[in-house]
Amino acid sequence: MAQIFTASADTRLRAMLLMAAAALVLAIVAGYASQGYGTVVGWVRDQPVPFSHRHHAGDLGIDCRYCHGAVETSSRAGFPATHVCMTCHSQIWTNAGMLAPVRLSLAQDKPLIWQRVSKLPDYVYFNHSAHVAKGVPCVTCHGRIDRMPLTAAAHSFHMNWCLDCHRNPGPALRPPGEVTRMDWSGWDDSVESHRQYAALRVRVEHIDPVKLTQCNVCHR
């Protein structure tokens, strides 16, 4: 009877195991890299100041545009300048240790460096004003920001997520004057009348899903 295992079988087995382990590590590293540390859903990051949207946007009811004023007119929503914080914190919580970096930033004229939680890769073009003008509300993409004590991403901005909406944007459209509204539960209940609203808006605004899914809309 011939031998089942040749002399080199051991080496081959070891090589195969090594390759399998390497492939596993590579898969994990690649998956991690494509997600990007900064875009993992639900993760918070260390910020210079523990700024709370739940407190400011939720409890105090400050509109998003008070701080992210560029969102209607430019591609970026931007972060508030230090003196925007100071419109209120020049008078309240003026001695809070938590806010010391804000005061230092104003005194030294050095911007606060916020850690991003929802960032696209550089090769993707995105435009806030285009979405806001058509009435895609902030909550659709950023989730219930007004309930976040520390900011986290609500969706990982993968291509299929963008395309899911671009193929059929109608149901996502809301009155453009109310884009910063966070709670749409009342709206989502009356399905039938809003199906008509969606169809009408798509027609009136000349939104063409065929054009919206072309590569050069987002990769230019």
Binding site: M19, S34, L60, R65, G69, F79, C88, Q91, P121
Partner: protein, 177 residues
């Protein structure tokens, strides 16, 4: 054999890098080594005039004609930038003063009712006492729109219910205020 494995691993390594995502450009909120102060977004040098500055100055000088669209714009901008402190009706009881911010005056006091619209535009432009300037976030035309809306608020709070017509009175009663 070992060398072959190493070679295969080396060839696979680039797949783990995604360099396209970080291109050699700076977004406006990112730091940059290009400038001494380390910011990618540079403030224009002292004394710079933007191309549309003359138009903006003219818009600040000349009050736009009063239209329903202007009032609506004013209501929206007022809700964003002024309600936190001055309140929805302009009585000065917003949420921020209730947390310890100095109490702003009511827009319905005689002095501010008599004040010209330009006064409100000037306060938004330059600030007033404890209130900071909002000129970085509110365009000149919108400042006039807000002033117009404050005028509407002032009228609304001193209007006798008898001046309303049948339909408006019913809606007022239904809304319960």
């Amino acid at each position: 054999m070992k060398r072959a494995i190493l070679l295969v691993l080396l060839c696979l390594l680039p797949a783990a890098c995604n360099d396209m995502g970080r291109q050699p450009r700076s977004d406006s909120d990112e730091p940059s080594k290009l400038f001494a102060d380390g910011k990618a977004l540079q403030a224009p040098p002292e004394g710079t005039l933007a191309r549309d500055d003359p138009a903006r100055m003219a818009a600040l000088q000349n009050r736009p004609p009063l239209t329903p669209a202007l009032l609506q714009r004013g209501a929206e901008r007022y809700a964003i930038y002024c309600t936190p402190c001055h309140g929805l009706t302009g009585d000065g009881h917003g949420r921020i003063p209730s947390r310890g911010f100095p109490q702003p005056p009511s827009f319905h006091e005689a002095r501010l009712k008599a004040a010209p619209s330009r006064h409100f535009v000037d306060v938004i432009t330059a600030g007033y006492g404890a209130m900071y300037s909002y000129s970085d976030r509110i365009e000149p035309r919108d400042r006039w729109a807000i002033a117009a809306y404050i005028r509407a608020l002032q009228i609304s709070q001193s209007m006798p219910a008898s001046a309303l017509d049948e339909d408006e009175r019913r809606r007022l009663e239904e809304s319960g205020s």
